[in-house]
Amino acid sequence: MDIPRTWRLRDQRYLLQGNQCEECGELYFPKVFICHKCRCRSLKDYQFSGRGTVYSYSTVYQAAPNFDAFVPYIVALIDLKEGPRVTAQLSDISPGEVEIGMPVEMVVRKISEDGERGVINYGYKFRPPIPLEE
């Protein structure tokens, strides 16, 4: 039961909240505690748009117990529009449909469940964007 972690990381997981160096403007996800570019320790929260492209992907068939109910699922590295790269699952897509470079958008989904009695972990996943009409 890692309840404190679920709680501690909720804004990062629900909102894709990273941070930005107040000195040089560098953006980070996940949050850093010192700017890796200029070593400034003053950083402010920054919410990413959730838009990005697939850098790489694979499919998980054998997972840790908390993820058992979801296999097979697709994992990926996503290049966010703003720069940082994020590790996440893809959703609403079948393995055959994924391609490197395809655009994706962030959604909040169930990531894992701590058994039948424990906490449900929600967080960012990415899916092919639902286009807006004009």
Binding site: R10, D11, Y14, L15, D68, A69, F70, Y73, Q89, S91, D92, V107, V108, R109, K110, I111, I120, Y122, K125, I130, P131, L132, E133, E134
Partner: protein, 354 residues
């Protein structure tokens, strides 16, 4: 005595958003498994929507809420309530609404609560939000109607129990897309359908769910609303009724004097089934997607147990600005991916694997 409930200031819907998962299971597929196709000619819907393995009422509420925020175009921190109506809250104890409030940057200065009233938990949350904003206790209030309904395998309701819903941000009339004219709530103790604590699937009274429940409550709520507002069916551009199947909303519309044309836009059950608390609000979001400024819209829900909320709105010019600011109801309904019964049974936890 007027039954009509009106706010003490002009208010309305400032933002709305839909969500329907992309998966569908065909009613004929369910029939194949449980009845070898015996009733294929008389299925209540064509297919029903199905949440993916990683979706539940919380995740779906977050997306519908995001869409509502995109259309409302307000600072989420101005919202003073997150009220989520559903019969499928992921936790028995722990609000759906706090997760949604956190994920939409509405937390922490907000009330948050979950509503339950079978299929009208969503409009119940809307009524509460209308009262909250209408009384000036809050400027903005978020009401969500969302479900991932479950039918007992092989039961008649398994054909229709579906997933989806909508979210509405209630606020001042000045920036509304649809202004409230008035509403009626009508409720009696009628046990037509229920689920006891700790039971996974609901029980229902078969044909008892019709006349004394669905038809009686909706008819009384809508008739009273029309009388109080001195309106007649032809004054409405569109009407949306709770839609547990394809037939009921068509029949109640006809009884009340609404034409098939008036209910067409908001009648989604043939394509996605009965999304329970989400059903009539989702139909209403589809109606808003298609509405023109000046259109009058009727929303009439039904919840077992039993009751009906009937609400009348008039659409404003602002609809044209926000209609496409978020994905339309149709864009969710159109992205359908059919799955077989085995996949559906696995995702909906009808097969135990540990």
């Amino acid at each position: 005595m007027k039954m009509n409930m009106k706010p003490s200031r002009p208010i309305g819907i400032v933002g709305y958003g839909a969500y329907v998962p992309r998966y569908r299971v065909a009613a004929a597929e369910i029939s194949r498994v449980w009845r070898q196709g015996q009733d294929t000619g008389a299925l209540p819907v064509k297919q029903k929507s199905l949440p993916g393995a990683d979706e539940d009422t919380i995740t779906m509420s977050i997306e519908a809420g995001k869409n509502a925020l995109m259309r409302a175009d307000i600072d989420p921190a101005l919202i003073r309530s997150v009220w989520a109506g559903s019969e499928s809250h992921p936790y028995a104890v722990k609000p759906t609404s706090t997760v949604v409030a956190q994920a939409l940057s509405i937390a922490p200065y907000t009330t948050a609560a979950d509503f339950e009233f079978a299929c009208k938990a969503g409009t119940e949350a809307m009524q509460a939000a209308l009262g909250f904003v209408g009384s000036s206790m809050a400027d903005y209030s978020l009401a969500i109607a969302m479900d991932t309904a479950q039918g007992r395998p092989g039961d008649a309701l398994e054909y229709t129990a579906a997933a989806g819903g909508a979210a509405f941000i209630i606020g001042p009339a000045a920036n509304s897309v649809a202004i409230l004219e008035g509403s009626i709530s009508y409720a009696t103790d009628t046990p037509d359908f229920f689920r006891r604590s700790y039971q996974k699937y609901p029980e229902h009274g078969n044909r008892f769910t019709g006349e004394p429940a669905y038809f009686l409550h909706i008819s009384n709520a809508v008739r009273t609303l029309l009388e109080d507002l001195e309106l007649k069916p032809s004054d409405f551009a569109m009407a949306v009724f709770h839609q547990p199947n394809t037939k009921f909303p068509q029949k109640v519309a006809k009884q009340l004097g609404f034409t098939p044309e008036q209910i067409k836009e908001g009648l989604l059950s043939p394509f996605i089934g009965n999304t329970y608390a989400g059903a009539s609000p989702l139909g209403f979001s589809a109606a808003l997607d298609a509405a023109k400024p000046g259109d009058r819209l009727l929303l009439a829900s039904f919840g077992s147990g039993a009751g009906s909320d009937a609400l009348s709105f008039v659409v404003t010019d602002r609809i044209e600005e926000v209609r496409f600011a978020a994905p339309t109801t149709r864009s969710y309904i159109d992205r359908e991916v059919l799955v077989d019964y085995a996949t559906y049974a696995r995702w909906r936890n009808k097969i135990k694997h540990h």
